[in-house]
Amino acid sequence: MAEPIAYFEHGADMGIVGRGTFIEEAFENAARAMFAIMADLGQVEQHECVDIEFEEADTEFALVTWLNLLLGQARSRALSFGRFHLRRDGARWSGTAEGEPWRSGLERGVEVKGATLTGLSVTQQHGIWEARCVVDV
């Protein structure tokens, strides 16, 4: 399998890619790709866990909804997330994000404002799911 996390070029913002054997794994890796823009995930400790739940039948809208709910929870709770879990039951998605409050020793990248519908796709090829979109920084 190609790298579970990757990036693609966009003139002003950044394209993120998450891959996995299951669609949920691809979404989890897309979340890791997005949060790695904001912090070194290797440094983020897992002190707090936040539940994420939503309903969305369209898998592309589901990706954007998942990423944006994570961003919303991270920003509203002033947390940096480093670990993600997601389950799917039809149109119902439920997951968790784990992380810690921002601290001075945490190496910072740049803030992601939102996941966009640009470059958005969720596809499966040769048994591998790939989820991608442009995020606004």
Partner: protein, 477 residues
């Protein structure tokens, strides 16, 4: 960008010729061939898509600093008439609603500033919450946030942030009408809780600049600026609340468009008829976010004054102008000899009212609105003046920045934050940041030539150059 399908109207304005059978409004690109060649081909694709949206008046346009965005290109301008089935688009405004620049003029010159610059940069870095994860001192309850959404910079002033004279020099006197806090989600309000009075990151900055050269003496005098004078520019927007409003409505409007019978060339154009319930909901939420941005820059102005007072007690900082560049605003423009009420989307574009416009403060009415083109942290920025609409064919709009010349990933491959900051310091520019990655992504070389953008803005009739500013110290997010 391949210029093959472009027809030169004049050396600073091009039209996109339609393909056989293509039905859309005209497309105008304000730039010269050099700037156009450097633009991503996606700009052309995106602005042609905008020209297919219902109710568009005149042409869909790009400014000289245009680059690939989402939905609309950044540097895109489009006006819609509600009575002609016109739409409002979340993709035409962007996530950072009312991102803009507040420019302050000081009573300092470089000679006075230079010996204290290092300390001032340190004090500002401590005073201005900047970068991902940084929160402000002000924590507002949902009820208090509703009041900010209704009051904008006027709310900030009532709560002790700034002076009354500031309001005169902010678009809409610091408070846009039509804000409906009830249309803003609870999550958006929660995202803003710790983010009032924060700078953000990415291309946002707080910069101390010096006026290097005056190009238009009359306008410079009206704006109160002279060569050698120290200015301050604050570039930021509506923070988490605005980002969440953009997020919420991008998906809502993308889904609504199909239901409302709008065929979107791409769903990232997410829009609804202005007169539809969804369109009105977005309008109310977007106006609420605009007021958050105006209040945010007002609070940062207050923090800047306190920091300057600590280092240079005799310094004064007056608001020169505050202009937003991610908005949809209701304005009257003369089209085919008749005034029409239009919803003007400016995505990465600045409003540029010309001389005599009634919305301008009396001090600037004779020369036109200050237009601020923010450059990179190592090159320069420009102040221009708005032209009469007879010259500005873009619904009183102009460029907003240098525009990126390469992606953030390309920049990361070429520069390292610490080395870049050292190089800039050697050249007399102090950078304060918590993110070395952010510094590298924002390297001056990653941006287009801001001087060329300013020249194109002038030559295409959008605005005229007044002053060139050089950076001396910059707090980056």
């Amino acid at each position: 960008m391949d210029l093959g399908r472009l027809k030169e109207i004049n050396p600073w304005c091009y039209a996109l010729t339609p393909l056989p059978g293509e039905e859309r409004a005209p497309v105008r690109l304000y730039a010269n061939a050099e700037l156009l060649r450097g633009m991503d081909a996606k700009v052309l694709e995106q602005i042609a898509n905008v020209a297919r949206l219902p109710g568009l008046v005149g042409a869909a346009m790009t400014m000289p600093d245009a680059h690939w965005g989402y939905g609309f290109p950044i540097g895109g301008v489009a006006a819609f008439d509600a009575d002609a089935g016109g739409i409002i688009s979340a993709g035409g405004v962007g996530f950072d609603i009312s991102c803009g620049i507040r420019c302050l003029r000081t009573n300092l010159d470089l000679t006075t500033l230079a010996p204290r610059l290092e300390r001032l940069a340190d004090v500002l870095f401590r005073a201005i919450p900047a970068g991902v994860g940084e929160e402000g001192q002000l924590k507002l309850s949902p009820g208090e946030l509703d009041a900010v959404m209704r009051g904008g910079a006027q709310w900030a002033l009532r709560h002790g942030y700034g002076v009354a004279a500031d309001l005169e020099y902010i678009e809409e006197r610091g408070c846009v009408a039509g804000a409906v806090p009830a249309e803003v989600s609870d999550l958006a309000k929660r995202r803003q809780r710790g983010e009032m009075g924060t700078l953000g990151s990415g291309n946002h900055y707080f910069e101390i600049q010096v006026v290097e050269r005056i190009y238009d003496a009359q306008a410079a005098e009206a704006y109160g600026i002279a060569a050698g004078q120290v200015l301050v520019s604050i570039h930021c927007g509506s923070r988490g609340l605005g980002h969440q409003v953009g997020t919420d409505y991008l998906v809502t409007l993308a889904k609504a468009a199909g239901r409302l019978g709008i065929r979107l060339p791409e769903r990232e154009l997410a829009c609804a008829p202005i007169k539809s319930p969804e369109g009105q909901q977005y309008l109310g939420a977007m106006n609420a976010a605009i007021n958050i941005a105006l209040a945010n820059r007002q609070i940062l102005t207050h923090l800047a004054r306190a920091a300057f007072a600590e280092v240079l007690p005799k310094a004064t900082l007056e608001t020169l102008y505050d202009v937003s560049h991610n908005t949809c605003k209701v304005e009257t423009h003369v089209v085919d000899g008749k005034p029409r009420l239009l919803y003007v989307h400016r995505k990465g574009a600045t409003r540029a009212f010309g001389p005599g416009h009634p919305a301008l403060p009396a001090r600037y009415r004779a020369v036109g609105q200050p237009v601020i083109i923010g450059g990179s942290m190592g090159t320069g920025s420009w102040i221009l003046a708005g032209n009469p609409e007879a010259q500005n064919g873009a619904f009183a709009s102009a460029s907003h920045g240098a525009g990126r010349a390469m992606s953030r990933h390309q920049a990361l491959r070429l520069w390292h934050g610490r080395e870049l900051i050292h190089e800039l310091a050697v050249n007399g520019i102090l950078i304060r940041t918590r993110s070395m990655r952010g510094a590298a992504e924002e390297a001056p070389g990653a941006y287009k030539d801001v001087d060329l953008v300013a020249e194109a803005t002038e030559k295409s009739g959008l605005a005229r150059r007044v002053a060139l500013l050089r950076p001396k110290a910059c707090v980056k997010g």
